[in-house]
């Protein structure tokens, strides 16, 4: 669906992207990971043909530079900060974008309803909250039913409820057979992804399935255990056999442990101690990607 070959983008002497190549399979979900300034947004801008670049990008075979309109018509883009004409009403803004995409007003009604914004159609865009603006951005991106959806930091400006709604949306879009590219530095989305791409300083540092990448870096899960007072010393002793970074916080033991050792540690504690509660926080590719770029332990 999306093919990027030797993508290089320079701003003067600064190289924002350096020879990046990647490919998105049809109907797949890809996470684009990296710290701030890694080049994620620049890469997306290149895909949208918003900036000039060296290399080649094609969306479903359509060259982004030479067939810019055709390529863009196959992409629904939700930018990090949805920027609209603040003085326009939601409906007018939506009609404008629908006009540009050659879509009908009926579809506008349908899409606004889909994101629960139909009741706010007569409000000025400037008066909407960040979450509502993002929903508007999603509704407008969905106009025309594009096969490729690109989200730039989709969960950065919304609350927890919004994040959960967004995850549901991803599930829906995925089940509709859309190809998704999600630039993020937050966790919680890797279960939706078949591929993760890690960028740093404009270079592609790693690419593969999230699970494979986690294995490659010996990712660390964290086990939280609360035991009775008389079991605390035993639990700590067992934990220290698996991890040398065991901490105690308010009656809980925090045990960072390698993914491969997680099960046996949990079993040992359950067998040897009076366990009151136990939680396991799995490693996610979003929380561990720093290791892939050499910035973490």
């Amino acid at each position: 669906m999306l093919k990027i070959e030797n993508l290089t983008k320079r701003y003067g002497k600064f190289t924002a992207l350096d020879q990046v190549s990647m490919e998105l399979e049809d109907k797949s979900t890809t996470l684009l990971l990296g710290p701030n300034g890694a080049g994620k947004t620049t890469l997306i801008r290149c895909v949208m043909g918003l900036v000039y670049f060296e290399g080649k990008i094609a969306v479903d075979g359509q060259d982004v530079i030479h067939n810019n309109k055709a390529a863009k018509s196959m992409v629904g883009y939700v930018p990090q900060e949805s920027s609209f004409y603040d003085n326009m009403e939601v409906l007018d803004q939506s009609y404008l974008i629908a006009e540009l995409k050659g879509r009908s007003r009926e579809e506008v009604k349908e899409r606004l309803g889909q994101v629960n914004l139909w009741d706010a159609r007569n409000k000025r865009v400037g008066s909407l909250s960040s979450g509502m603006k993002q929903r508007l951005g999603i509704a407008l991106a969905l106009l025309g039913d594009p096969p490729l959806m690109i989200f730039d930091e989709p969960t950065s400006n919304i609350d927890l409820r919004g994040q959960l709604e967004f995850e549901n949306l991803l599930t829906d879009l995925s089940s509709q057979g859309k190809t998704l590219l999600i630039a993020t530095h937050l966790s919680g989305l890797d279960e939706h992804a078949q591929q993760a791409v890690v960028l740093d300083k404009g270079k592609l540092m790693a690419r593969g399935q999230p699970g494979e990448l986690l294995k490659r870096i010996n990712a660390i899960d964290t086990i939280y255990v609360r035991v009775s007072e008389d079991s605390m010393a035993t639990a700590k002793e067992i934990a220290e056999g698996y991890s040398n970074e065991v901490m105690t916080r308010g009656g809980w033991l925090l045990i960072p442990v390698q993914v491969s050792a997680k099960a046996s540690l949990a079993k040992a504690i359950l067998n040897g101690c009076n366990v009151l509660d136990i939680l396991i926080q799995p490693a996610t590719i979003e929380s561990q990607y720093l290791k892939l770029i050499g910035g973490g332990n």
């Binding site: 309109k69 883009y77 930018p79 609209f84 974008i97």
Partner: protein, 251 residues
């Protein structure tokens, strides 16, 4: 607000009083139009320059430009849409300003509206030039405040700093009369003013020093050359603005 100010400028209340007391010569329209052109033309750039200069840079700053261009619309379509939208709205103010004022104040018949159409058309052409220059300012500026500053300075340059009445005498004495022609043609506001005055049949008083030099050197071709120059300005400014817009990243 500009519409109201422009309307009051064009309606000319003293003339209105003279009409009511029937104290006007038969050719008052000719005389008044040339006077009105000299009075109002220097202010016309104040309509397009600030509006055009902030339009693109404002959207770039707010991220709207990036969002709009992420939709299936080419840069040329976006630029032309912006240019034509601003051109129509600002030209409408000029045409309606002169037109309504003429209807109310000068009590002109339909056939004499043709004469009133001269400042309308030449004014709109000047407006198109200023809009092209304004968009150029907007494209090259990084911030809205900077663009607005450059726009206001440009107006100042075209009207006050290059007040060619005095400047032309100096240039004429220092170099030659041909240098004055060059200076006039490099200033679209002065070129438009002279063209409009010539077409409405203005005399020596209204043409001023520069007009006399132009008439003396260019003779009967003066109006043609001035109008061609204005067309070149309009096309050139818009084309350069678009080329710069097309070359630069919108973010």
């Amino acid at each position: 607000m500009f519409t109201a100010v422009f309307f009051l400028l064009a309606i000319n209340i003293p003339i209105l009083v003279l009409i009511f007391v029937r104290y006007l010569p038969p050719n008052y329209l000719d005389v008044y139009l040339t006077y009105l052109i000299t009075l109002s033309f220097p202010f016309l750039p104040l309509l397009a320059l600030p509006m055009g200069a902030v339009s693109i840079v404002d959207e770039r700053e707010s991220g709207v430009l990036q969002y709009m261009l992420s939709n299936p619309v080419s840069r040329m379509e976006f630029f032309l849409g912006r240019y034509l939208g601003l051109l129509l709205s600002t030209s409408a103010i000029i045409v309606l300003g002169y037109g309504i004022a003429a209807g109310i104040s000068y009590n002109v018949s339909a056939e004499r509206y043709l004469q009133v159409s001269i400042p309308m058309v030449v004014g709109s052409l000047l407006n198109a030039i200023m809009l092209g220059l304004a968009l150029m300012i907007s494209v090259i500026s990084k911030r809205k405040a900077t663009a607005l500053g450059i726009a206001i300075f440009s107006w100042f340059l075209f009207t006050v700093l290059s007040n060619l009445g005095l400047l032309s005498i100096v240039v004429s004495l220092a170099f030659s009369q041909f240098s004055v022609v060059g200076l006039v043609l490099l200033n679209p506001t002065e070129t438009a003013r002279l063209l409009a005055v010539m077409l409405t049949g203005g005399g020596i008083n209204e043409l001023g020093t520069t007009g006399l030099v132009i008439q003396n050197l260019l003779g009967q071709n003066a109006a043609f050359i001035l109008s061609e120059t204005l067309l070149c300005w309009a096309f050139g400014a818009t084309a350069v603005s678009f080329l710069l817009f097309n070359r630069r990243d919108p973010v």
